[in-house]
Subunit: 362 residues, 2 copies
């Protein structure tokens, strides 16, 4: 599929203008755009500006509040619960991450559970805020249900990502940012566009059978947890996803399991929700709460060098350090611009017309 290239600056300005048109404040518009641009720059095309029209559709249905009163509703020295007031996760999550880091600054660590929020972009953006402060950053979110736990056909969990970000010394931070499903929905969409089959182990049919049909999820199937089947540890992927669901939502008072509100505006939330909005969980720990930061970074560099120099199975494919491909993508895209696929460009064009804002320029 062909794509067009956009410079970061212009794409950022357009994205801000979309949030401003929604009624977001200048500060919130700039912040929300920064989260989305970080995703596009880092090569995670599924979580960047491609999501803008989805946010707008939810806002039109009054499921996103453009002027939220985000506040702490419960607190101890090192823990807090934040109510996002139905705002964009793109602005609610940075608010929570900031509190976690302030608590860590004072007490060594800080932990913030968030309710009444929405999709927060890439987990990595939030966790990485801690790294420049010589802290370990943690961010998780639950998500609308697409994944079936081991042994059932029901979609009870989202792809529920978790991210851990660790500062290094002379190398970029190690950033483990991963969905807890075997494969995310974006990979199915690519296979659908290319009219290809998918590997067995990504999706099961509505009867719980293995399938290679890229359309099986749309036909009532479900994504599988990391591990794919019981024999290969899908109960572990289920356990990880459950951990994210509990930390983000049972701890905060958000919705959990099958009650997490859908990310798509054409599906209504279930009746009788047990919580409010979707949930996040953020953490920060000062490295020097455990050992001097310079020692930690020295050994992180040693760890990275040892793993990168491991004997490859295929000489052309060395071990990839978590976060490394995103750093490489960012270098290229900062210089050469961000490629957007034709359907996304078309979508953003329609959005500009609908909102009466200037169109996106290459």
């Amino acid at each position: 599929m062909s794509s067009l290239i956009f410079q970061e600056k212009k794409l950022r300005a357009f994205t801000e203008s979309v949030f401003l048109a929604m009624g977001c404040s200048n500060t919130h518009s700039a912040l929300a755009a920064d989260v989305l641009l970080a995703s596009d720059l880092r090569g995670i095309d599924s979580h960047g500006v491609a999501r803008l029209s989805g946010y707008i559709r939810l806002w039109k249905k009054k499921r996103i509040n453009a002027t939220p009163d985000i506040k702490v509703v419960h607190e101890t020295a090192t823990t807090a619960t934040v109510d996002g007031d139905g705002g964009l996760g793109l602005v609610v999550a940075p608010f929570a991450m900031q509190i976690a880091m302030e608590k860590a600054e004072k007490y060594g660590s800080g932990w913030v559970a968030v309710r009444n929020s929405n999709h927060f972009g890439i987990a990595g953006y939030h966790a990485m805020q801690a790294v420049s402060r010589d802290m370990i950053g943690i961010a998780m979110t639950n998500a609308s249900p697409l994944v079936a736990p081991t042994f059932t056909t029901e979609r009870l969990l989202g792809t529920n990502p978790m991210c851990y970000a660790f500062p290094a010394g002379k190398y970029p931070p190690v950033v483990v940012d991963m969905a807890t499903a075997a494969a995310a929905n974006g990979k199915l969409e690519i296979a659908q566009r290319e009219q290809k089959n998918i590997p067995a182990g990504w999706v099961q049919t509505h009867t719980g059978d293995s399938t290679t049909d890229a359309h099986a999820l749309k036909a009532g199937g479900s994504l599988l947890p990391l591990g794919s089947d019981r024999e290969h540890g899908s109960h572990k992927g289920f356990g990880l996803s459950a951990t994210v669901d509990i930390l983000t939502s049972i701890l905060s008072g958000a919705n959990y399991g099958p009650w997490v509100p859908p990310f798509v505006a054409f599906l209504d939330p279930l009746p009788d929700l047990p919580g409010e909005g979707i949930g996040h969980f953020h953490g920060a720990m000062r490295i020097d709460g455990f050992r001097p930061a310079a020692d930690f970074k020295h050994h992180m560099d040693n760890w990275i060098e040892r793993f990168k120099s491991a004997k490859p199975i295929n000489p052309d494919q060395p071990v990839i350090i978590p976060g490394e491909p995103e750093v490489e993508a960012e270098k290229v895209r900062k210089l050469e611009g961000i490629p957007l696929s034709e359907p996304v460009v078309k979508d953003l064009g329609e959005l500009a017309v609908m909102l009466g804002i200037g169109k996106l320029e290459e």
Copy 2:
């Protein structure tokens, strides 16, 4: 394979006598026995008394210190680093978990990294200590290298387990206690004894090829991360294992990656180790640091009920809540006794003779 049944009380007394013969204090012997018995009672046979002779062999090689001076070497209000002085992980980890919980009691959360330790039994024992205090408990450890990251043939990581334990209301706690490899070594040993093949995706050969040979690990192969191959997300399993390695050891000053000392006494540690012993990481968070504990437990019960009642693929196999099989095993084994396989019974008999202690009675 046939097995003999032992009552908990007698097995516990025997286990304590082994640690006493090693020179451990009364308190440490009782504690170490409690950790091992918890594993046997919960049905995790690979991590209970079956490991006793391995501990003794390491002690004989002076790689386990029976009388450690375990202490905090670095501290903030909510973080600490513990040096285990080469002691049994079975006593070092409870010391660290205790500190994490005391900090959580005062400040909402507590986090303790541990260096210079040894094998700590099941992660679940340690994490679950927090549950009766209405806290979320977390425990992780790294382990001797058997797992190859995606794209290499080198064993650079252990099966590096992580555990999250969450209190519920009327139901048992939800305990996610999992190795970050696709399958643990114990499963290979069962296949070897039964002369069966293993599923592809558990192990690769020394050249990085897929195999179903249960002996491939012994022949220089390696375990695969959760996800099994790149297409099914083995980079995520690698990322999880890396997270455990960094939190337990780069943060504490323990050994990491390929330098983690082997659990078996016949393999020597590598030269020029970058740290001390193996590492753990423990955490505790007060539920009421986020919301009232009663509300949390009410929603945990609701979560458990919803997941347990999910439509099963096979009517005979409902969804299993993480931690549920272990609770069921404990009920049965408390009443009926603990089955030990013949080789384990023989091993414990030889141990009694070697140490000059009373033999294990049924």
